[in-house]
Amino acid sequence: MTDVLDVALRLVVVFALFLVLPLLVGQTEHKVMAHMQGRLGPMYAGGFHGWAQLVADGVKFAQKEDVVPADADRRVFQLAPAVALLPYLLVLLVIPVGPGEGAVGQAVDAGIFFALAVMGVSVLGSLMAGWASANKFSLLGGLRTAAQLLAYELPMLLAAASVAMAAGTVSLTGILDAFEWWWLPWQITGALVFFVSGLAELQRPPFDMPVADSEIIFGAYTEYTGLRFALFLLAEYAGIVVLCGLTTVLFLGGWHGPWGTEGLGWVWTLLKTAVLAFVVIWLRVSYPRLREDQLQKLAWTTLVPLALAQIALTGIVKVVIQ
């Protein structure tokens, strides 16, 4: 009985985080982006500095008509938003926020593999949407998504593999238990590669070629309306949360901090995740979109070699230590 209660409680907490954190990131993006551009951003919804803007947006999306194009592959089209969104919920389940068994939704032995594999599934949602929409722009967007996934999954996996080598385990909790502060400079290259590849996989600016609105309208999401469109947007922000959480856990030491790791470890995790989310927004505001060929060039000629170099460095240091 207590087992059932325990599982239910964990699921509820993870689900609540899954609903709240992406909205928090979205609202932060509204405000941070506005102030970085000398604006104020939303000021009315909810009364105080537009804190309820995303709630209002949600209400608006829910009121809109759910249109499926006549020539679309109906079932795939309708399924795509769920495929894009749900994997992030699953990944959130295995990210440890604090020390011990109590602070992770479900400790999985092959945590890294699980997280990265499931995150890859999320991109399938965009592919499905692009293919099923019966729209040229959607198809172009979907194909660009596929190309981007192929290019950036590799450096991301290599960078994660470097951490797994350093820790000698692929379990996320195991990696955090083995973490030492000097892993920060040791794995810094891997961290950068992982973070940048993750951004590209989320199709966040400056890697938003697949949805480049000035070229192909909104890529794979062109034909979507109402709630299904909102789910795609939510998937993007959930993706930011998951990417920042994973980067925190793998490279920044998760709940490790200068002090208070016993009781307040989860605060460290959330703080580091929030800082990374801010950086994600910051990059979006600062940089223009990469061209499709620049995108591919960055992945294959910069990130992959850097990730390989990181793995070599990890291996050498590992051998020297032993």
Binding site: A34, H35, R39, Y287
Partner: protein
């Protein structure tokens, strides 16, 4: 020196971060009134007391948005047996702000200072016909016309002030001159009385300052009347009026 690779990326991040720490430029208009520039072109106010119905504004208006109607009234003669005068009376003055392009030519061209820019801008209407505003509304807007902004610290003196000051200075100089003349005349009269034996010498000595005018009379007194005519009076008489009339000419 070649730029460090990636310095451009860092610069981009710095720009956005710096902007974030600064105050945003958004004006929350309906909640807070905007701070308008001193010469804001909001709406045109009519100071109808100054209007003489000369029609210059209506004729200069590039898009013909000013409507003026008037009639003539006869003013009875001011003095018995005089001629009756007629004057223009303004019946209608309207500006169609749906046509007005806010060029301000009517305000520039008005010779009687009857038109002014007002910063008032909240006069949107739901029907385009209601944008033609009549004289009462235009007169009301006159109350919103701000004082003309102060001149820059180093600016030239305003023309009307300069003219007034010059006139006042001329007047003061003329008065001083008159006072001196009066004093000289008194001294002349006083000098006449104690020295009746030498009337010619005394006359030429006191006549000199009046003719030579300006500086202190004592210096003129001390000087021996070398080139001075034996009778100082005749040249002195026309001399000072000349001076004064030229001064008046300068003032005018």
């Amino acid at each position: 020196m070649a730029p460090i690779p990636g310095s451009g990326l860092a610069k981009g991040l710095a720009v956005t971060l710096r902007t974030m720490t600064r105050k945003s430029v958004t004006e929350q208009y309906p909640d807070a009134q905007p701070e308008l520039a001193p010469r804001t072109r909001g709406v045109i106010g009519l100071f109808e007391e100054n209007c003489t119905v000369c029609m210059l504004c209506a004729r200069e208006c590039p898009d013909w948005c000013i409507y003026i109607d008037s009639h003539k009234e006869t003013v009875p003669a001011a003095t018995p047996g005089g001629r009756e005068r007629s004057r223009n009376v303004l019946d209608r003055f309207a500006i169609d702000f749906s046509l007005c392009m806010y060029c301000g030519i009517c305000i520039e061209v008005c010779p009687f200072d009857a038109l002014f820019w007002s910063p008032e801008f909240e006069y949107a209407e739901t029907d385009i016909h209601e944008l033609t505003h009549e004289r009462d509304k235009l007169r009301e807007w006159m109350w919103t016309v701000p004082e003309p902004p102060a001149l820059d610290p180093g600016a030239e003196e305003p023309k009307e002030l300069a003219a007034a000051r010059k006139a006042a200075e001329k007047l003061a100089a003329a008065e001083q001159l008159a006072a001196e003349e009066r004093a000289a005349a008194e001294r002349h009269a006083a000098a006449d009385r104690p020295a009746p034996e030498e009337p010619a010498a005394g006359r030429s000595a006191t006549g000199q300052p009046a003719a030579g005018d300006r500086p202190d009379g004592t210096r003129g007194d001390g000087k021996p009347a070398a080139g001075g005519p034996p009778a100082g009076e005749p040249p002195a008489g026309p001399g000072s009026p000349d001076e004064r009339s030229s001064g008046e000419g300068g003032t005018a």
